[in-house]
């Protein structure tokens, strides 16, 4: 009894500490977005703004191209998310429910590809995009983000949990394979699919390196690139950057809050729950 209680207290303390460790920088950014330039640079630093101001938001929304960057990012992230949800669920369905030669080997190769960092193959992909004359286009920003190896793996795990008998019953009842995917697989794996959607959206939204490589004109910037622009060589405008960061967090926060239930349920059904 005593041991159980002490373990629980230790777990509570460590979890609280980790949560605090994660949340404090976010709170700091939010607080900074409402501070004046003088207060931001003041010593000793303050945590809460002494005279909260919307000036930084005003600056970044009305006096920069930042709204355009947000729209670009929304477009790229949404299209990428939809593509990843489609490719992950179809590939996951195929790997989970169909037997074909070298299935295990192909899946292993696919998984192995997830271990190669973007930086390792960025140059050849850049050359491909360049040769296809796609630099500074949405296609260049989106194409590498249409398939997610982790998504395929995750959806395979989720779909493997759907009993084969349901698919067999549908086949006997006269359903085609595409219909089975559309009406049975998607319906029964929607929680997992939502979880992958959130991961995909977050990945696309926070992507910095790839847009930096394929985009050079301001009208195609994403929020991450836009925020980097404000880090000038000799003077960093912390206020507008913090305001921009706060604005850019909002869509992700909305997506997460809206789909939180599905994400938890999806992870639980994937067999990946800790």
């Amino acid at each position: 009894m005593f041991r159980e209680r002490s373990v629980r207290i230790a777990a509570w303390i460590s979890c609280s500490f980790l949560a605090l460790f994660t949340v404090v920088p976010v709170l700091w950014i939010v607080a900074t977005a409402f501070k004046t330039a003088a207060e931001i640079n003041a010593w000793p630093p303050t945590f809460l703004p002494s005279a909260p101001t919307w000036a930084n938001f005003d600056e970044i929304i009305y006096h920069t191209e930042f709204p355009r960057y947000i729209l670009n990012t929304i477009l790229v992230s949404t299209v990428s998310t939809v593509c990843i949800m489609i490719t992950s669920s179809i590939a996951g369905f195929v790997f989970a429910k169909y037997k074909f030669p070298f299935r295990g080997l192909i899946f292993m190769v696919l998984l192995a590809s997830a271990t190669i960092p973007l930086e390792a193959y960025m140059i050849p992909v850049y050359i491909m995009v360049f040769k296809l004359k796609m630099l500074n286009t949405f296609a260049a920003l989106i194409l590498p983000l249409t398939i997610m190896t982790f998504g395929v793996f995750f959806m395979r795990q989720v779909i493997m949990g759907i009993p084969d008998e349901l698919l067999e019953a549908a086949r006997i009842d006269g359903a085609s394979e595409f219909w089975i995917y559309l009406r049975i697989i998607l319906n029964l794996s929607k929680n997992g699919l939502m979880a992958i959607g959130v991961f995909a959206f977050t990945q696309a939204w926070a992507n910095f390196m790839w847009p930096l490589v394929v985009v050079s004109t301001g009208d195609m910037y994403t929020t991450e690139l836009g925020l980097a622009v404000y880090q000038r060589a000799f003077y960093t405008e912390y206020g507008p950057i913090a305001a921009g960061a706060v604005i850019s967090i909002v869509p992700m926060l909305i997506v997460f809050v809206a789909l939180r239930r599905h994400i938890m349920a999806g992870i639980a059904t994937s067999g990946m729950k800790g």
């Binding site: 008998e165 067999e168 549908a170 006997i172 009842d173 219909w179 319906n187 029964l188």
Partner: protein
């Protein structure tokens, strides 16, 4: 309606394991045939090959006058009821039942009529708006059967449909399936590992073992005239007792058990068993042929005595478990007998009902 013909059908998995070994089976139109056998005997594989869910490695399967080896499941005009019901959890009971008809583009009115009719037969009309998760096991199984009925298929396939139900519900659903077949006579192939289910439901039972058909016959025929030791041991509950015996002739044909007990062969069996003198044989005797001693002794009934190991009062009878020759045996006695654990109890062995098995071939003589 149509019969099913399985001709020299083989199923080999991954080029090695032979799950079904060249079986032949003819199922007549409207007949109820049960495939029964232990786990891994190939009964479900056979059913799935008929359904088109497993490819056939060799042989032919005919449904009616159509060879269906390469026909897709949806084009075979069959309906299947699965062990775990296989109801679509996101659809209502109505949609589950209507699904097959919708896929075949039936008019809405016709679908509604058929679903209502099937729901009426199965007494699930009140459940049509519910989702499967709001149903009990028995109700789910009824919906699964309803889904099969509405299609009015040529053949019904049942793959251990009662295995997930508790004992009481299983008995109830068993009766309902039988009643259903009497109402809607359709060719039916039913797979189970439960021999009681097989005996009570089937017009004919197919006993399978290790990928082969051991015997096909009416339930009573299998029970009273098993062809092999496997069938003799598999059909009947409690199972048939087996004892190794020597068959010898010292002026009369006799069976000698290892511990010296001698049992005379009934006169009616002498001619049949005579040629097997001196061969290694096994005596098979059902528990109901080992009973308490009655006042009047009949010819062919021999008295044996053994210390009782376990007494199982069943209400309508008492089962006694004991050992002879180190082999476990079971006797079935009247419920009013008084027996206690450890007591030496005299039993009447009715050898008129005995089976003699040739150990070499495994066949009942």
């Amino acid at each position: 309606m149509a019969g099913v013909s399985i001709r020299k059908v083989v199923k080999v998995y991954e080029g090695k394991f032979q799950a079904v070994k060249a079986i032949d089976l003819e199922v007549a139109e409207d007949e109820f045939v049960v495939l029964v056998g232990p786990s891994g005997c190939g009964k479900s594989t056979t059913l799935r090959m008929v359904a088109g869910l497993e490819e056939i490695s060799a042989g032919e399967i005919w449904i009616g006058d159509k060879l269906v080896n390469d026909v897709l499941p949806r084009e075979r005009d069959i309906a299947m009821v699965f062990q775990n019901y296989a109801l679509y959890p996101h659809m209502s009971v109505y949609d589950n039942m209507a699904f097959g008809l919708q896929q075949r583009k039936y008019p809405r009115e016709e679908i509604q009529k058929r679903v209502q009719h099937a729901a009426g037969i199965l007494d699930i009309t009140a459940l049509l708006d519910r989702k499967p998760k709001a149903l009990s096991g028995g109700q789910r199984q009824r919906v699964a059967m309803g889904r099969a009925i509405v299609r009015n298929p040529k053949v019904f396939l049942f793959d251990e449909p009662l295995s997930n139900l508790d004992a009481k519900l299983r008995v109830q659903m068993r009766t309902e399936i039988k009643k259903l077949h009497q109402t809607i006579a359709t060719t039916t192939l039913y797979v189970t590992h439960d021999q009681v289910e097989a005996m009570t439901l089937a017009d004919r039972v197919v006993v399978m073992n290790a990928g082969r058909i051991e015997q096909v016959g009416a339930p009573q025929e299998l029970y009273h005239h098993p062809a092999t030791r496997f069938v003799a041991g598999f059909i009947g509950s409690p199972a048939m007792n087996f004892l190794p015996v020597d068959l010898y002739d010292d002026g009369g044909l006799k069976l000698r058990l290892a511990d010296g007990i001698v049992l005379p062969v009934p006169a009616a069996r002498v001619d049949r068993y005579g040629p097997y003198k001196g061969k290694a044989m096994t005596l098979g005797l059902r528990p109901e042929n080992l009973t308490e001693i009655h006042d009047v002794e009949r010819p062919g009934v021999t008295r044996i005595e053994a210390p009782i190991d376990v007494v199982e009062p069943m209400g309508s009878e008492i089962l006694l478990h004991f050992f002879i020759d180190g082999k476990p045996l079971c006797a079935r006695i009247a419920p009013d007998c008084v027996v206690t654990h450890g007591e030496r109890f005299a039993l009447a062995a009715d050898l008129n009902q005995m089976h003699l098995i040739d150990d070499e071939s495994g066949r009942v003589v």
